[in-house]
Amino acid sequence: MLSSERSIRKEMASPDGLAEHVKAGRVRAISRTITLLEAGNPMGREILRQLGDSGGRSHAIGITGYPGAGKSTLIDRLITAYRQQDKTVGVLAVDMSSPFTGGAILGDRIRMQDHALDKGVYVHSLATRGQRGGVSAATRDAVLVLDTAGFDIVLVETVGVGQGEWDIAEVAKTVVVVVAPGLGDEIQAMKAGILEVAHIVVVNKADHDGAETTLQHLRDWHPCVLRTVAVKGEGIPELIAAIAHHQQADPLPRHVSSQTIRQSLH
């Protein structure tokens, strides 16, 4: 799908050229379009308008959860699994911008670099640029771009979140919340917030002490709790199956659940 990159530089100066190359799945055009959207450049909106509704086939999956819970490593393993199914994968990895300087270290990609030469995998890092909901303002548009470019799967990794960042529910159709063992008792599992937007909860690092207790507490309060050890690849097939099951069980487009959230808050 990712055809020749040669001599598209000139054509990337116009929205028409960029939109065409995005539809053809060309990496440079996809990346540049995301840059324009992030910058709030009017050309970005024009490209989106031209892309229209030519996408719609991707399954957008949000991977959110606590800092250091293993989101990036889990995504690395999910990429491998989806590639084995011959699915193409686009990844949007969000990390924090500094509230002081606006700078950022975008380091999620480091766990995914083994896929850097796979033409069926695309990874783009995004900084939050002042947004506090766990993703950046352009993330939703960037998902649309990857959808139009024809990726079967779009994985969105949020910043490491606490309890209160659930913007991912407005971006992804299936939301996976990743936690690690040993971070609190049953009351934590009962609390409102991030766990409520989770379609699937994953206890990663499940070979660590306290994993069984954490699993038990979460299972009392959530219908779909899985265990994984991402670095060893354990639990990945089960997670892939659960994500597919959610996709089939919930035919509603992704924005419906987020509208429900917004309506109930106002």
Binding site: N41, S98, G103, Q113, S125
Partner: protein, 135 residues
């Protein structure tokens, strides 16, 4: 062209069989503190991986650290791959233990700046700040 106020995006990484990453991490952190978005690819990258990541990330520049002595091969390969992909508008700079006699050749090939032992962090930050965003 509309003015864009987005931060510079810089890919920072190490190429080849060289595990010394303390310096490059400090540089990454200093550039972060100067308000840039740093895509850090980590250790043991091939030139192919670096160039693929740079294009996927739409970076303005690539900064490479090479302390292994293989700077000639690695820098030239990165420049060659960027040219092949019509992406040689991405600035390439680097640092490491690079002998005097190699510098003119690397500059001539297109490496914009080389920072050697004794360089201050301010020199590196000032250089990167002056890079013109591509988009």
């Amino acid at each position: 062209m509309t003015t864009i106020t987005a931060p510079l995006r810089i890919l920072i990484g190490k190429v080849g069989l060289d595990g010394h990453d303390r310096g490059i991490k400090l540089v990454a952190r200093a550039l972060r503190d100067a308000g840039m978005e740093i895509i850090y690819t980590g250790l043991h990258q091939t030139p192919e991986q670096i160039v693929s990541a740079a294009i996927q990330e739409d970076v303005d520049a690539i900064g490479l650290s090479v302390l292994s002595g293989s700077h000639n091969t690695l820098f030239l390969r990165v420049l060659e791959l960027l040219k092949e992909q019509d992406a040689d508008d991405i600035v390439v700079f680097g640092g490491g233990i690079i002998p005097n006699e190699d510098i003119p050749k690397l500059h001539a090939a297109g490496v914009r700046a080389l920072f050697r032992p004794g360089t201050t962090m301010a020199d590196i930050v000032d250089f990167v700040k002056a890079i013109q965003p591509r988009a």
